[in-house]
Structure formats: C-alpha cells, structure tokens
C-alpha cells in the first residue's frame, strides 16, 4: 500500500544512450526482468528511492497497528480478539521483514525510524484517520488491506529482489486479513441488529474516500512515477491501481447491502469499469503534510513507545555485555 509520493530524485528519464556503461547494464538487466540483488551495482538514486519506499512501507505497517490496537482491548468476542491480535502481530512481522529488506540497501533501521518520528519520513495517509466504532475493524481489513493488496500484488514482481520476496510473503497474509475483515462486516449486515448495521454503514462512509486516496495522487499529478516505472520499482500507475481496486470492491459493497458516500459512483457498460466522483485532493495533501485527524497522535504514540523503552534497551545491551565478559 503504503507507499505514496515516493521521491525518485529525478523528473526526466535518461535514454540508454545517455547512460554510463554501468547504468546501461543495470537498466538492461531491469528491462530483461532480472532481479537486482543487494550485491549488484545500482544507481544511487535507485537505492535511495527504494530505501524511501521500503521504509515508508515498513513505517506504515508499524503505524498501522495503532488504529487496530485502539479496538483490541474492546473486541466483542474471544474469536474476534484472537483474530485481531493475530493480524496486528502479522503487521509487526511485516514491518520487521520490510526493515530487513531495507537494510540490505545499506540503510539503518534506527535512523529510518528517527526520520519517521521527526516527520522526515512518511507513512500511508490512511492511518491518520481514527477508528471510531467496531465495524472499523472490518472496514480496515476489507478496504485498507484490500487496497494494499491491489498495490502489493504487482510489487511481488518489483525489480529489487529482497523487496519482491518480502511482498510475496506479505501478500499471502494480507489476503487472509482482507477476508476476515469482510467477514466481520458481512456477519453484522446479515445477522446483526439495526445498531450493528448502522455501525457498518457509518464506517464505510468514513473510510471510503481515504481508502481510494491510498493509491496516491492521480497520474497527471504524480511527478515521480515515470522514473519508478522505468526502474520497475512500480509497475502500474496510481490511477490504474485505483480503478482495479474500485472494480473489485463495488460488487463486494453491494453484496453487503451498503452504499458508498459517492453520488457519482456508477457502472459504465461500455468500458466495463466503475466511474467515481472527484477525490478531495486537498484533504489528501493536508493529511500527507501532517494535518490529518490523527497524525500527531500516531507519531506521538510511536515516539513515546521508543523513548519509554530506551532504558529497557540499554539494560539489554548492558546485560549482554556482562554475560559476554563473564564468558570470556
């Protein structure tokens, strides 16, 4: 999902003729769909772009635990509690896995986490929205993980080997989360009380547009995409992926018996695609810049977890050193 507006440091694509021999060999390897591995030569901008994208992705997994953690203590049955806890644990695992992939590029996990805490690094805009009722645990699984999967399925073929392999593993778990999320909503819509059904519709009303924004700005406003596509870090445009997500999601929305908060949403018989209304891009850029409902809370929660744990980590290091000196 979870990578929006990733800077590539270049707005103009070089042709093969304009490249140095190394660059050219690198680009040809990518064109031939051969994976780039950590030991291969790569342009500095490719390395930096990947570090930004993978760290953003990892941060999203970690920050993404918070809106769900908000309901973990209030999950209404033991089964739902176990499911939600397992999902959150998977996300921590994805975060760790992605940070490891990022470290193969020479980046340092702690430094990248510092960037998250002081606002230099981004994470997906979606996690800056609050989770206000239990149905949000269904909607987050269905729409947010659903959007993530649409984004990540092509990333399984991304040009950088460790990132591609991380995505293969992550996608399997995300599909499972998405089905569980949808099941939460379906159960409430099919067997629930009027209060529960209202909860579901309210949740969809709040999450619908932010989920569509997860794919990032529209193609004509996405200056970094061309370079990312040439490097095959990114394989489809934002608008293509958004459309794919919408086409698969609307029938599921109808099956729930719910509606989208979009009066312009309709099926176009000729194109075979759903058409939708204008996204509020002002809101998107506000949230990305830090002015979403929960930006401050999310960063503060992450920062205080790490700050409050400093003495614990110091103790672990000191203890390990004592053990080692006793063994020597």
């Amino acid at each position: 999902m979870y990578a929006q507006l990733v800077e590539t440091g270049s707005s103009k694509l070089k042709t093969l003729d304009e490249m140095s021999p190394e660059e050219r060999q690198f680009q040809e390897r990518i064109n031939d769909e051969i994976k780039i591995e950590p030991k291969n030569w790569m342009p500095d901008a490719y390395r930096k772009t990947l570090i930004r994208q993978i760290s953003q992705h990892a941060h999203s997994e970690i920050v993404g635990m918070l809106p769900e953690g908000n309901w973990l203590t209030r999950a209404p049955t033991l089964k739902r509690k176990l499911q939600l806890m397992a999902k959150i644990q998977d996300e921590a695992g994805h975060g760790l896995y992605l940070y490891s992939a990022m470290e193969t590029l020479g980046a340092d996990r702690d430094e990248e986490i510092d960037k998250l805490h002081d606002g230099r690094a981004k994470y997906s805009s979606i996690f800056n929205y609050p989770t206000l009722n239990w149905a949000d645990m269904g909607t987050v699984g269905w729409l947010v993980d659903g959007a993530a999967i649409v984004n990540q399925v092509p990333l399984q073929r991304t040009s950088y080997g460790p990132y591609s392999r991380a995505m293969i593993r992550v996608c399997k778990e995300e599909s499972f989360h998405q089905r569980q999320g949808y099941q939460i909503l379906l159960t409430m819509m099919q067997e629930g009380t009027d209060d529960q059904k209202a909860m579901v519709q309210d949740s969809i009303n709040r999450m619908w547009w932010p989920a569509l924004m997860m794919f990032g700005p529209s193609d004509d406003n996405s200056p970094n995409s061309a370079q990312s596509m040439a490097w095959k870090i990114k394989r489809h445009s934002n608008d293509e992926l958004r459309q794919r997500f919408l086409d698969q999601t609307v029938p599921q929305l109808e099956l729930l018996g719910c509606t989208a908060p979009d009066p312009d949403l309709k099926y176009n018989e000729e194109t075979g695609h759903y058409e939708f209304g204008e996204i509020d891009w002002q809101e998107f850029f506000d949230v990305v810049k830090g002015n979403g409902p929960c930006n401050r809370e999310r960063i503060e929660a992450r920062r205080s977890a790490i700050d409050n744990g400093a003495w614990v980590r110091e103790a672990a290091v000191a203890h390990a050193a004592k053990r080692q000196s006793r063994a020597a």
Binding site: P76, A92, D195, V312
Partner: protein, 259 residues
C-alpha cells in the same frame, strides 16, 4: 446478567473459572500494551503471549460453560460477568506500569503457571489434561522469555535494576495466592484433577529463587503480609476498569447475538 455466585457451582467449575479468568485477564493486560513495546521484536512477543493466553482462556471457559449446562458459551462467561464473579489471581489484574512491572508480573505468574500446567497434564480429567498439555508448551516459552527479561533488567544497568527491584517489591504481596490453597484447590487435588498444591508452591519458590538470584535481585520474604481474595471474587480496584473496557460492546449492545 450472568451471576455465577448465585448458581450451584461445583468445585470443578470454580476451578476452571480460576484457570480461564487468570489467562483472560493477563491476556487483556497484554492487549493493552499493543503499540507500546520497547522494541518491535517485543511487540511481536507481547502479542504472541497475549494470543496464547486468550486461546487458553477460551478453552478453559468453554469447558466451564459446558459443565454449567446453562446453554452459555465462553464469550458469555468472559463478557457478561461482573468483577465479583471473576476468579482470577490478583496479580494478573495489576496495571502494566513500566516494562519492569509488566515483566515482573509475567514472570511471577509464569513460574507458577508452568508448574501448574505441568501437573495438570496428569489430570484424571482427560479434557483438562489435553488443554494443559497444549498450554504447557506455550507457558514454557512465556517463562523462558519473562525469566530472561527479569535477569536482563535485574542485572542490566543501575536504573533497570532499581526499577526491577521496585516492581518485584510491589508485586510480591500478590504472590500469596500462588502458594496458599483453599478447599477448592484441595478438593481438586484429592479428586486427582489438579496437582498437589504444596508441591506446586515448592516448585514455584525454587524457580523464583533461581531466577532472582541470577538477576541479582533481593527476594522479599515469604512471611510478609499477602493480599489475597481473587480466587473467591474479592478483587483489587483495577479489575472493574479492565472489564468495563473489555466488555463494553456486548454490554452496550445486549441484543446483538453475533459480531
């Protein structure tokens, strides 16, 4: 509203509620720590322990509900009883505090839990023996992890040592419930369902002493005043708030039968 105390409760049901409620309440404390761990690896571990405990709670409470024969399930017992009907140990309902409080609580409980579950694998009740065997594997990992943290914090830096000793001193008054036993524990032992409570107490003490010594911590006296009552439903002030949060949805929407 479910009021267990008013119904005829066999010693076995009461005993199962003790097992299930302690796992449930400690699981809930772990859930409250989501997103607050000192490192990502610990985030995973905390969730792991919580998952195990909720799973165990579900197994014990399912059995208790079946024996009650009122047509209820584990969720009903977890979400529709009030504090006075909970039978968990007082130590598990204590607040998370800092990481030393959290790990100290976990360790003192795990050191008891492992020996208890080990004994329960020999239970004359096959259902209990089966659940205990599965839970023992999990609790063995919990104890290894919490022992390691008590040792790291106890024998780490000056600050961590001070915090760990303080946590231990503060939690110690709740350990009486781990070593003292009442007529229900005795009845379960005599029926061959549960292990000998005196042997359990001895083993708990041995594990605690070994780890605290390695951790360079001072063990408080066994003869000090102990705060007890959890096993008969007399709790500390903390449990009510924990349940208010945990039970909020089923209580606010009592007509909802599925979630």
């Amino acid at each position: 509203m479910h009021n267990v105390a008013q119904k005829t409760q066999t010693p076995l049901i009461a005993y199962l509620l003790r097992l299930g409620d302690s796992a449930l309440v400690l699981g809930q404390r772990s859930a409250q720590l989501c997103g607050k761990a000192p490192a990502l690896e610990e985030e995973m571990a905390l969730m792991n322990v919580g998952l195990d405990l909720f799973g165990q709670a579900r197994n014990w409470l399912t059995y208790a509900a079946e024996l009650e024969g009122e047509g209820h399930d584990a969720d009903h017992l977890a979400f529709r009883r009030d504090a006075q009907d909970f039978r968990n140990l007082l130590i598990v309902e204590q607040p998370n505090g800092d990481f030393a409080d959290t790990m100290g609580r976990q360790f003192l409980f795990d050191a008891w839990h492992v020996h208890l579950l080990d004994g329960l694998t020999q239970s004359s009740d096959p259902r209990i023996a089966e659940v205990a065997a599965k839970s023992l594997k999990e609790a063995t990992y919990h104890l290894r992890r919490s022992s390691e943290w008590v040792m790291r914090l106890g024998d780490g830096t000056e600050e961590s040592h001070t915090r760990m000793q303080r946590a231990l001193d503060n939690l110690w008054r709740f350990t009486g419930e781990l070593t003292q036993f009442d007529e229900i524990d005795q009845a379960m032992f005599e029926a061959g369902i549960a292990p000998d409570p005196e042997i359990l107490a001895t083993r708990w003490k041995a594990t605690v002493e070994e780890v605290l010594e390695e951790a360079t911590l001072v063990r408080p006296s066994y003869d000090t005043w102990m705060y007890t009552g959890g096993k008969v439903g007399h709790h500390t002030e903390h449990l009510g708030f924990l349940l208010a949060e945990m039970q909020y949805l089923p209580r606010t929407y009592p007509d909802a039968t599925v979630w």
